[in-house]
Symmetry: C2
């Protein structure tokens, strides 16, 4: 029995997700869904440039899709905020349709929206749907992988994660999201307003703490512009010397005054020595490094598709990646 | 509701496991079990040198224990071979008692014993027991951690894992198991006879292949003596120049002629630069290194105790680590 999948959100990541899902023997991509009137009514194969998806209709909403196609699972790549995803997630939940989503805040929705998360959880349980947020960051590098490491620790005092990404290797929207080309003060204003920066860092912190059974008593997040020391040009943006070329974002979690978790993200154009690293202060201590890091976009698409069979085997509800079986190629 | 635990196997690892389990709020260590007549009838607290375990009786078998103490889970640290563990595992299964075991072959028992594994699986399902094998190696470094990494890969062509252990930091029995002090030819004879060497390397390979959905068409395992280039002395063994001071063991897995998996283990007295590493040839490629490696004995004990709550939440049967929730500190 193949899992019948609808791809919701047909931007570059969504289309790449649909293409990858179409290669899997356990998956059958049956439809696309996108609110954009220029896409709805079209053919997913044409939009994705993939003959394997030809003949799959594109609907505006799951509601419209549901009248014509039965769906087991929605791959959701549309928004970063949980509240923005909620209407679509509810449409899925009430039909018993499970969701694997790249929505950053969905990694740990109870962090910002405990009531709405609890209510969506009830809806899922009531109708037999599973909803989970995942990806590479958030979703893997800063919490699932460190949690997995703690599986061989007798005790953990603190966890420190660093991620350095050369943003010039990433897609255009990401190069803009990190402030490329803005005056540093303008970037920092937008960061404080929640309009710029990496989404989901606090959710990573919250999932990590939750997995360890730690209650965070203080969480601080900072975001600073990284300033270009020379003119820079990528396929997507031009940055002059003195302008923002990316960000240095950091979240810290304390338990009763003690610093227990630090997540440190440098993502800027031309960042040298890209890598992911994690140090666990514990018994035994662990010191992990992923040389070169986890390449963002192909890995995000992979994380979504690989996670797809996982929630189908889990109990209904709003699920966390830490509750599902070890992620792996599927 | 605490998980009522009996510790079966009261060697150094078993006693350390009982001591660690006794520190967990979700666990209640209710008894020890060991066939050794010098231990049975005694007090687990005295044997373990831990007042927190005082008053817990030590029985010879689970059958004897069962007459006096209800047990939910057995932590089993007794033997390396699945067939040697089978009688005790069956005693657990028929009583609906779950097991987390350090038995190396239990990591993937169907590799050597598909019929006996299927029969134990049926017994577990019939009586509501879950049995799983875990540890650091096998159980984490060479398969669970690499599998977890593949969760962010679109495709995987091959996986290569290396583990370098300075055996002089490990317990005495392990220093002997790797051949310390033997003539190299004698070590290699014992390795071929299955009497020396690291147990479970083929099981790691099998679990890795299973997790990836790969069918191995050829598996080769080799074990060579590492020869001391000077006289060596640890707290447990004395090795003269020219004698065996450890091993270089390697397993390779091929699918239709193509080398897809290599597991390479160097474990010898004074091995320089201890570390664990894993390269995934895939999309994206991944290059992981754990500097210093995962310290064997404390981590093995931690892996067992941390895994304990996992199978309790899984469906009954003979389970694999790759099917359970992401391992983490518990």
């Amino acid at each position: 029995m193949k899992i019948k999948i609808a791809q919701m959100g047909l931007g570059p990541i969504g289309l790449a997700t649909a293409r990858l899902a179409a290669t899997r023997s356990w998956a059958e991509v049956v439809a696309g869904i996108d609110l954009d009137p220029a896409k709805a009514g079209g053919d997913l194969g044409v939009l994705a440039g993939d003959p394997a998806l030809a003949g799959r209709p594109v609907f505006r909403t799951l509601e419209e899709c549901w009248k014509r196609r039965r769906v087991d699972l929605v791959l959701h790549t549309a928004v970063s905020r949980f509240v923005d995803a909620l209407p679509a997630l509810e449409q899925c939940a009430v039909r018993g349709v499970s969701v694997v989503s790249s929505c950053e805040e969905l990694l740990f929705p109870a962090w910002r929206e405990p009531r709405r998360a609890a209510s969506l959880d009830r809806l899922c349980r009531c109708h037999g749907a599973r909803i989970v947020g995942t990806g590479v960051n958030p979703g893997f590098v800063m919490e699932v992988l460190p949690l997995c490491l703690t599986g061989v620790c007798r005790a953990v005092r603190a966890i420190h994660v660093q991620r350095v990404v050369d943003a010039s290797t990433r897609r255009g929207p990401l190069q803009l999201k990190i402030g490329s080309g803005l005056a540093p003060a303008e970037f920092e204003r937008r960061f404080r307003a929640g309009e710029s920066g990496h989404a989901g860092l606090q959710e990573s912190l919250a999932l990590l703490a939750h997995g360890l059974g730690w209650e965070l008593t203080r969480v601080q997040e900072t975001g600073r512009a990284v300033v270009a020391d020379r003119d820079l040009q990528t396929a997507h943006v031009r940055v002059r010397r003195g302008q923002t070329c990316g960000l240095h974002q950091r979240a810290e979690g304390r338990c009763k005054g003690k610093l227990r978790l630090t997540l440190d993200l440098k993502m800027y154009l031309g960042a040298p020595d890209p890598h992911d690293a994690c140090q666990i202060e514990g018994d035994p201590p662990l010191d992990l490094r992923l040389e070169g890091g986890v390449a963002g976009d192909p890995a995000t698409v992979a994380a979504l598709v690989n996670a797809a069979p996982r929630p189908m085997a889990a109990a209904p509800g709003l699920r966390l990646m830490s509750e599902l079986a070890v992620p792996c190629l599927a």
